[in-house]
């Protein structure tokens, strides 16, 4: 289980061969970590046959409930796959979670202040903390947003912050996702099914609940209604049934008891957004939009897109509708801005960051670029605005041809890339094909910014199902686990 796979080169002073990934489940070759002991003993008592049966039940349940996700490739239309779910939960002790929670709240608060600042006074740019050039070269910095005041000055109402655990056991922030982060419905589905199929696992633990996420979200959406929270007509705006996250859009709309709409169901009249109903036009106050900025408003963003609603940005500017997450938030999850988030925490909050970033090289910095180009084999190179593991070079697993291609891309467009030393993601025990195997995992907690900032206890633990792989994204063969945060 602690074999050679998964050991990566980094530029740490320690001999690379000795850098073993942190194992979440096992303390050493024989013993589980203390908080996993009750679970481990239970699993051993269950035995192979019972485990195999439960694993099958889980798969069947996922299929019956229709918990799928769509994967798109260039050659074919979306393939619906059953959500891959591992029956061994990931457990986070109370004290560890307390640190994560406060670190996440701090980070999101700073990111929000950053967004407010760069779309208004731009003090952080004038004070030279972040290069204005970097921001203005950012694909997701939208000049149309400058000067607009979103309700309660909140931009990233929903954040999915990706966290990894280093080989020394420290949690690090890997990435911020503030545009249309997804995965929440799977987090809930995982918990619901874990409870239903493996209730006995829960008997030894007091696990904090996550199923209330939709009601937390609903409250946050009500909070930003221009007509006040008691008069809030809320809708979820989806690109439609061919979108890979469509299942989640319908799930959230249903759980919150709000209408699911597409762009063509809405129309703007005199700066107010309306739904086209059989009883005529009905005013809309809050739009939880899962359509990207560039497709959101064909009038404002010059697109031919049929997914959006012409005039919606003007309605938002006039304060007649709330858009969640606020357009323009993407500049804060630009990977080239990510290295500055600790600076934002210091600048806006006057605090030291509770959670650290992964060390990151900016390709726009000549010294960084030079270093990375000579060490590509040990680096993870990422395109600054991609997600889902696309546009990424995994150095140690790459061919010389691919590395050469990335080197050229970096030279051609340095602003579009960052690089990080390969982080040996922590590993966990997974039940795969009848065996307990170790795989790399990460964590995506969800942060809701409403009247307060709330972090849902746990989140989505993603598993890189391919042996030795560090790529956890579902679209690239990743799976998931139920995530337990223990109550006091």
């Amino acid at each position: 289980m602690h074999a050679g796979d998964g050991i990566m080169q980094t530029d740490s002073a320690v001999d690379p061969a000795l850098r073993m990934p942190y194992h979440e489940f096992y303390l050493d070759d024989f013993e589980p970590r203390p908080h996993y002991r009750p679970l481990w003993e239970h699993i051993r008592r269950m035995g192979q046959h019972a485990l195999a049966t439960k694993a099958q039940e889980l798969q069947l349940a996922m299929r019956t409930e229709g918990i799928t996700f769509a994967v798109y490739s260039e050659t074919e239309q979306g393939i619906e796959r059953v959500w891959p779910f591992d029956l061994i939960p990931r457990i986070i002790p109370t004290a560890e979670w307390a640190i994560l929670e406060s670190g996440l709240k701090q980070r999101v608060r700073a990111l929000n202040l950053f967004l407010k600042d760069i779309y208004h006074d731009q003090r952080i740019l004038k004070d030279g903390v972040i290069s204005a050039q970097l921001i203005y070269q950012g694909q997701h910095f939208r000049h149309e947003i400058v000067g607009i005041d979103p309700p309660h000055d909140i931009y990233p109402h929903i954040g999915g912050i990706d966290i990894v655990r280093n080989d020394d056991g420290r949690y690090l922030i890997l990435e911020d996702n503030l545009r249309t982060p997804s995965g929440v419905s799977y987090m809930i589905a995982n918990r619901v099914l874990q409870r239903r199929i493996l209730p006995e696992f829960f008997t030894k633990y007091r696990v904090r609940r996550v199923e209330h996420y939709p009601s937390l979200l609903l409250q946050a959406l009500r909070h930003v209604s221009p007509r006040g929270k008691d008069q809030a007509e809320i809708v979820v705006l989806t690109p439609g049934i061919y979108n890979s996250a469509y299942f989640e859009h319908t799930f959230l709309a249903k759980e919150m008891g709000v209408e699911l709409v597409e762009g063509r169901d809405l129309v703007v009249k005199n700066n107010v957004v309306y739904m086209k109903t059989t009883a005529g036009l009905q005013r809309v106050d809050v739009i939880y939009r899962r359509v990207d900025d560039e497709f959101l408003d064909p009038l404002c963003f010059h697109s031919d897109s049929l997914l959006g609603v012409a005039g919606i940005i003007n309605a938002w500017r006039a304060g007649n509708v709330a858009l969640v997450n606020a357009p323009g938030s993407g500049i804060a999850d630009d990977k080239a801005v990510y290295p500055y988030v600790p600076d934002m925490i210091r600048y806006y909050l006057g605090e030291q960051p509770i959670l650290d970033n992964v060390p990151t090289y900016l390709m726009t910095k000549p010294e960084d670029r030079a270093h990375v180009l000579t060490h590509l084999e040990q680096m993870v190179v990422k395109a600054v605005n991609e997600s889902g593991g696309y546009g990424m070079l995994m150095g140690p697993a790459s061919t010389p041809a691919l590395r050469a291609e990335f080197a050229k891309r970096i030279e051609d467009n340095p602003r579009n890339y960052i690089a990080q030393p390969v982080i040996p993601l922590s590993r966990h025990a997974c039940y795969l094909d009848g065996e307990l195997e170790s795989r790399h995992i990460d964590l995506r907690p969800y942060v809701i910014y409403g009247e307060d900032i709330d972090v849902v206890p746990g989140g989505l633990t993603r598993v890189a199902l391919t042996k030795g792989s560090l790529v956890v994204n579902s679209s690239q063969g990743g799976g998931s686990k139920d995530t337990w945060v223990l109550a006091e």
Binding site: Q231, E233, I241, V261, K276, T277, T278, G280, L281, Q282
Partner: protein, 324 residues
């Protein structure tokens, strides 16, 4: 509810009804083929079917100089693709619309729709010769009937159900009027022929294509008289496939939807339809012109469809915002 969803519910049931009616017509015509006299050519037997669905031109284009044969018509009316009103494309569209409204219909309905689609799609991958076609059409009718049964027993009554009903009965009224117009004209091309000896089998076939033969026979003991057939197929409010029944149900569906005022275009249009029926009887229809009566009926139906756009499906184009 969202206009788009309402319109999808409406078309889901309209396409289902279209497939059902087409299957019914095809089945009866095939069975009649068995009973028919030898001097009647295939073209004579099958052309009326093409007229009913208004696809004579499309058929001629697709098949070039080929004749009207049972096999060609079966292909054309079942599989498409040259005929968008064929059974296969109609069911595909019914299912596409069902997918859009999936969270408005019960799980049983969605599953039922899927099963119906898979059955038809799979079966149509192999050939459908005349001797096996009748059984296929019977299975389509059965599956649709099953779906209606599921709907009736699991779907919440309310606005959504109202649009579902609307689609079924608009399509049924439309199709019945066309069947009557074409078939009657063939059987009684001249008003002067009223009262002359008629072919029992042909009239029976007409009634059977409306699934009204047994009920008719139970009610009318004096044999096949045109006036009785007209009465039964048009004005009989208790006969589920009559025009009267369909328009009554349309009115009920509007009431169930309940969002438009009583002086709105759709309510006005349905009142016109009811008045058109109330102003006539089987007797007046035969004397003044069967074809004229039905054409007028179809015009009122077209007006009704336009009114549906104004009141429900594109209400936003003219409406003022409603007060919250």
């Amino acid at each position: 509810m969202l206009s788009r969803i309402a319109e999808s519910l409406y078309w889901m049931s309209r396409y289902l009804e279209r497939a059902d009616n087409t299957a019914r017509l095809m089945e009866i015509n095939l069975l009649y083929l068995v009973e028919a006299e030898e001097h009647l050519s295939e073209a004579v037997l099958w052309r009326p079917l093409l007229s009913i669905s208004g696809s004579e031109a499309a058929f001629a284009q697709y098949y070039n100089a080929a004749e009207i044969t049972a096999q060609n018509v079966i292909q054309f009316m079942t599989k498409g693709p040259a005929n968008p009103n064929a059974i296969h494309p109609s069911l595909r569209l019914a299912r596409e619309n069902a997918r859009v409204v999936r969270d408005r219909i019960s799980k049983e309905m969605w599953q039922g729709m899927n099963e119906l689609w898979w059955m038809v799609d799979t079966r149509l991958k192999s050939s459908l010769p005349p001797e096996r076609a009748a059984a296929f059409y019977a299975s389509v009718r059965n599956e649709v009937a099953r779906f209606h049964g599921l709907t009736s027993s699991t779907m919440m009554r309310g606005e959504a159900y109202g649009f579902y009903q609307l689609g079924t009965f608009v399509e049924r009224a439309d199709m019945t009027a066309r069947i009557l117009d074409v078939k009657y004209h063939i059987l009684l091309p001249d008003a002067a022929m009223v009262g002359s000896p008629l072919d029992y089998y042909q009239w029976a076939a007409l009634l059977k294509s409306l699934s009204g033969f047994e009920a008719y026979r139970r009610k009318y003991h004096t044999g096949m008289r045109p006036i009785d057939v007209a009465q039964h197929a048009i004005f009989e409010g208790d006969f589920p496939r009559s025009l009267q029944f369909a328009v009554d149900r349309i009115q009920r569906a509007l009431a169930m939807i309940g969002t438009a005022a009583s002086d709105s275009p759709s309510h006005e249009a349905v009142r016109s339809l009811l008045a058109h029926l109330a102003d006539h009887s089987a007797d007046t229809v035969l004397r003044e012109g069967f074809h004229e009566f039905l054409q007028e009926f179809l015009e009122y139906m077209a007006a009704f469809n336009a009114a549906l756009q104004v009141d429900y499906f594109a209400a936003h184009l003219g409406a003022e915002p409603c007060a919250m």
